[in-house]
């Protein structure tokens, strides 16, 4: 266990990287997928069940936690790890993304953003400095700068303005973060789908100097091929000796494509949200358990899965739990999806180590294309 935050690159395969992040709360094997513990819980999962899927690190949402239960309250209760009983690393976002997508009466200025809670209308202000303060109160291990994230498509002028504001906020974030070697501060690259803006953003962040580099403003409405192009152009501009985190991404094929383009870290609510809506991911792609074809199907999700939940329950039972909106359905399907995501990144890590990521990606995609079992 390290006393400071550090990153080591263990192997590469093309642009893909196999690495290891050390933190005082434990190591993170990369490429890593981080389950989202929105408001202090990965929905429908006990912390130890999340760990058992293979997760080394969770993500916490600053916006949700500052509203409920409040950052000062979490700090007084001993920090987010103790609060939710997850003793391993936690990464927190800056809160900016949810302010833009969820909050009401937003007003953005050079200073920061004021908004009202989507829950009870309470007024808040989030500035680069306050975001760092909140994330520090939560006792986050990996802290994000506040940035402005636009949806795509967007006007170039808008993308440039938001990118430059984000850079100035990066500078203020670095100053507010100060010297805290036991945790990390990540800058966030913005610039939409414009290579020149992305390059300027990356250069600006590098000159400030961060412990890691997040890639924001992707998976915000653009086609997957645009995201992949931006990644392929951008990651060579980022320091090789620092981790790279593609924020809020994604589905399994987004993650595999991101790994192939040099991304080290991913997070997304998709596996748990999809699980709560009856969709499960397996090596044969996605299955909609709401579909009537599963009603009488005694077969499990995947008899050869390493995950016991994929072998023990019939599709008919899972269909029934989804149709009756039983909590156990959300519990099982969230677990299956998080397990599959970890299986995917763990497979990619092993392949990068042996220089066989191309084969791994090809066989993984072939199985997805092959699809689920035929109906009975």
């Amino acid at each position: 266990m390290s006393n400071t935050f550090s990153f080591g690159l263990l192997a590469t395969d093309g642009m893909a990287r196999r690495g290891r992040i050390d933190t005082p709360r434990g190591a993170i094997a990369t490429p890593a997928f981080m389950p989202v513990g929105t408001v202090g819980t990965v929905k429908a999962m006990y912390p130890e069940q999340v760990r058992e899927t293979g997760a080394d690190i969770l993500l916490g949402n600053t916006y949700h936690l500052m509203l409920r239960p409040g950052a000062e309250r979490v700090a007084a209760l001993g920090g987010l790890h103790l609060f939710m009983d997850w003793q391993r690393p936690i990464l927190t976002d800056s809160g900016g993304f949810q302010v833009m997508s969820l909050a009401k009466l937003r007003k953005l200025t050079e200073h920061g953003v004021t908004f009202r809670s989507h829950i009870d209308g309470t007024a808040y202000e989030l500035t680069p400095e306050r975001s760092i303060e909140i994330q520090t109160l939560l006792d986050s291990d990996i802290i994000m700068q506040l940035d402005e994230c636009l949806a795509l498509p967007a006007e170039r002028r808008e993308m440039e303005r938001a990118m430059e504001l984000s850079l100035r906020w990066a500078d203020r974030s670095k100053a507010a973060f100060g010297h805290q070697p036991h945790r990390a501060l990540f800058g966030i690259v913005q610039g939409g789908d414009d290579p020149e803006l992305r390059g300027r953003s990356a250069a600006g962040l590098k000159s400030i100097g961060f412990d890691g580099y997040s890639i924001g403003g992707l998976a915000v409405g653009e086609p997957q091929e645009v995201m992949f192009r931006v990644l392929a152009e951008l990651t060579p501009e980022l320091p090789a000796d620092k981790p790279r985190y593609l924020m809020g991404v994604g589905k399994p094929d987004d993650i595999l494509g991101g790994i192939e383009r040099g991304v080290d870290m991913f997070d997304c609510v998709h596996p748990t949200r999809a699980g709560r809506h009856g969709h499960v991911y397996t090596r044969f792609g996605v299955i909609n358990l709401k579909n009537a074809r599963h009603k009488d199907d005694p077969r499990p999700i995947d008899v050869a899965s390493p995950n016991a939940n994929c072998r023990r329950f019939s599709r008919a039972y899972l269909h029934h739990l989804v149709r009756t909106e039983e909590i156990l359905g959300a519990m099982i399907l969230s677990q299956i999806n998080l397990s599959y995501y970890q299986e995917l990144v763990s497979g990619a890590r092993a392949a990068i180590e042996t220089g066989t990521l191309g084969d791994f990606a090809a066989s993984t995609r072939a199985a997805w294309v092959q699809g689920d079992l035929p109906p009975l």
Copy 2:
């Protein structure tokens, strides 16, 4: 493991009984509390988590299961145990109680009851024979006769009519059940709060002969003292060598009072339903975690509890999960309540064995009266 259903009385203490039911699917220590797996799942719990609380047997609801997923479907899928992955004993009710409380356009005749599903309006008929058939299709280990259960207070004439109808249905149920020594058929005593009607019901059932005797028509609106009086008058009329099951009861103090009056088996949705609504039961009574007094309270529910969930999470965290309506809150609080219920019946079993139920009941009630920790 027995090949047939049987009951043995191991010890008595006053009217209270310590017993053991053997079934081909495992033994049931009595007095027993049976968690309710309404529609094929104990809400918000994996089967192994239910077992870990100490439950030997679950209850399944015939009404819910006949609607969704349907008894014939469950049978084709290998029975309810395989369907929900609970290999230990399951008791099923007859469906009659929920037909009266949930279904629409009910019509009761000598033959049975016709009704429409509360979910989609589909028409069904439930007769004594069909109820046995459904419970057999579910592969239930302990089957209930169809009865008519009235709410209290009720007119004596009504109570008498329903009791006599239930007796005639008991007779038909026994004939329909036939010879199935690997499972049990229980008759149900009715008769409201009238000792004479209860006595006639018990006598009628005994002359038909059942593997166990359920006590229906209590906890249906009457004061607890009325329920306790009926129990104290009734249980001496029931065969000592057969188990007695008080249906749908109750809160912890109802269960303790039932044990003192010679009841062997209990079931109730209350512990899981209360958990989903933020109420937890401990040896110090009930705690409403929604209450603002818990908002900043770092103390766990009960540091000295044998249940890890009572020791690991702060009241502040549980309050937060309840307020944000997180599924994990329902999971944890359901687990805590089912554990406490099992702790209660397990403590009563040990006390009956040593002839100290009076002391156990007195100290248990004193702790309930003492109540929860004072606010910080």
